[in-house]
Amino acid sequence: MSLPVRAQTALQAFSACPGWEQRARLLMQWGDQLTPLSDAERCEANRVQGCESQVWLLAEHDGAHWQFRAGSDARLLRGLLALLLARVNDLPASELAQLDLPDWFTQLGLARHLSPSRSNGLQAVLTRMQHLLDANDQGAARH
């Protein structure tokens, strides 16, 4: 399965990461690179429910590929979102459906952020992403 270039960069950086401070700095750097969402996009409809921090997730489909955009008011979560997007964006839809995202965060040494504890937003983001994909599949099946 193909690893997008951004994902390869992330994997190299995070797997070489010696400690929590360096990891936090990297996460913040990645978060700073997220394309900011507009005020209109930071709306209730795009809001990911179940996060204690505010998180928004948008999905666009051009026929062959999914493009996701995301934002949060919490910096480190923005970093986690950037790492998620680096893995999923630009993939063919068929590959995206096969993707093991928890494994992706495990490879990055960030598996703990997928804990079922409710204060963590990342699990809710993955669930929301899956819902968006499923809704599109059902929409396509109806046409």
Partner: protein
């Protein structure tokens, strides 16, 4: 000199967490347990389990005696006149629901239930939903700048339509004792029932039901160094008589045929089904343990720890305390830094504190905050725990600011 807890060694959980590199400062969520409680839990199961209040056989009699002994101990702990005034439930939350359903028939449309702005969701939602079911008005008492219920406004808001006042003794977010005496007096002057949420308060110092004079007092075992799965309800006899039965099933009845039934009075009439037997018995051991401690020494230790916590927090640039915490815990935010980011970096450094809305969403909204960090203390915490917390907080803020 660093503060030492002479009781830390009695709590295997706090030591195990420390050995794992975890500094536990979240006792307001749930407390670690003394060895005596763990022994009781194992002792009950290993010695032979049996159901209570049912069988005449020896294991059943032994379990029932131990179970009822905890009722006596809980009554003594709360200075309740009679053990029959203590009802065991499965959580404090269930206890609030018991009251909201058990008292439902006492309300007429237009009656008022008064709570305060700082209530935990457990002391908000059962009343809010009752108000919606019965067309009642839910009145919310505002707070002053320190986080105390505003007595001037309370005197105006508690009125002739007030049928019930339900307030927290000690806020799980703001960490200050509420002015219960004047509040209860205001409610009683209107003939209203009084409910006190003692979930946090019962953990910090001895509470005296006879001195407090409320109709109902609610607390939970797991915050009081006991097992989870047990809530407690104390009620004055006249108040308990007003409760309608709400959960139906085994052992809460006197007689039944297929069409009709008659039910027991409190407490057993409100303990339908098999209760959390092992947990109730083990709670008795936690209470024995707590009773064996020098209460003044515990209070002095907790006060010294809390003072050190507040002093340290106040020294941090840009840090803002929520209200004026005086006991047990402190919640804070840091200007320009998201609470989730602080929580993230404290977690990375093995500091177990709570972040978020603390089950008090409307309170946080009222303060204009999406969340806060809460540090809460148990009697086993020591100065070293606070030093590790502050050092981690400084590192986190250095990265984030």
């Amino acid at each position: 000199m660093s503060l030492i807890s002479p009781w830390r060694a009695d709590f295997p959980g706090i030591q195990a967490l420390a050995a794992e590199g975890q500094t536990y400062l979240d006792s307001a969520a749930t407390a670690q347990k003394p060895q005596a409680m763990l022994d009781a839990l194992l002792g009950y199961y290993a010695g032979g389990a049996a159901n209570v209040h049912r069988a005449q056989h020896l294991p059943g009699e032994r379990a029932t005696r131990a179970f009822e002994a905890t009722r006596e101990k809980a009554a003594r702990w709360l200075n309740a006149p009679d053990a029959q005034q203590i009802i065991f439930t499965r959580s404090a939350t269930e206890t609030f629901n018991l009251l909201a359903y058990g008292l439902e028939q006492s309300f007429q449309p237009g009656d008022e239930i008064v709570i305060s702005a700082l209530e935990h969701h457990a002391n908000l939602l059962p009343w809010q939903q009752l108000a919606l079911r019965r067309q009642l008005k839910l009145v919310v008492l505002p707070l002053d700048q320190h986080g105390l219920i505003n007595l001037v406004q309370a005197a105006q808001l508690i009125g002739p339509r007030t049928r019930l006042l339900a307030v927290s003794q000690l806020s799980n977010v703001l960490g200050c004792w509420q002015p219960l005496d004047p509040l209860l007096a205001l409610a009683k002057a209107q003939g209203a029932l009084t409910v006190v949420d003692g979930t946090q308060g019962v953990v910090h110092g001895r509470q005296d039901m006879q001195a407090l004079g409320c109709d109902f007092y609610i607390c939970s075992s797991h915050k009081l160094y006991g097992p989870d799965g047990v809530g407690l309800l104390y009620g004055r006899p006249q108040a308990l008589e007003q409760l309608a039965h709400w959960q139906f099933g085994g052992e809460m009845l006197l007689h039944t045929d297929y069409s009709n039934a008659s039910f027991r009075n409190a407490p057993l009439g409100f303990e339908a089904g098999t209760p959390p037997i092992a947990s109730v018995i083990a709670l008795g051991s936690s209470l024995d343990y707590l009773s064996s401690l020098d209460a003044n020494a515990v209070s002095a230790h907790e006060a010294a720890l809390h003072a050190e916590l507040i002093t340290g927090l106040q020294q941090r640039q840009g840090l803002r305390l929520l209200g004026t915490p005086t006991v047990a815990l402190a919640s804070f935010v840091v200007d320009g830094v998201h609470h989730a980011d602080i929580a993230h970096l404290l977690t990375e450094q093995g500091i177990a504190v709570r972040a978020g809305h603390h089950c008090a969403m409307p309170l946080l909204q009222g303060l204009g905050l999406s969340g806060a960090i809460r540090v809460s203390l148990g009697l086993y915490n020591d100065g070293g725990d606070l030093q590790r917390f502050f050092s981690a907080l400084d590192q986190a803020l250095e990265l984030l600011q």
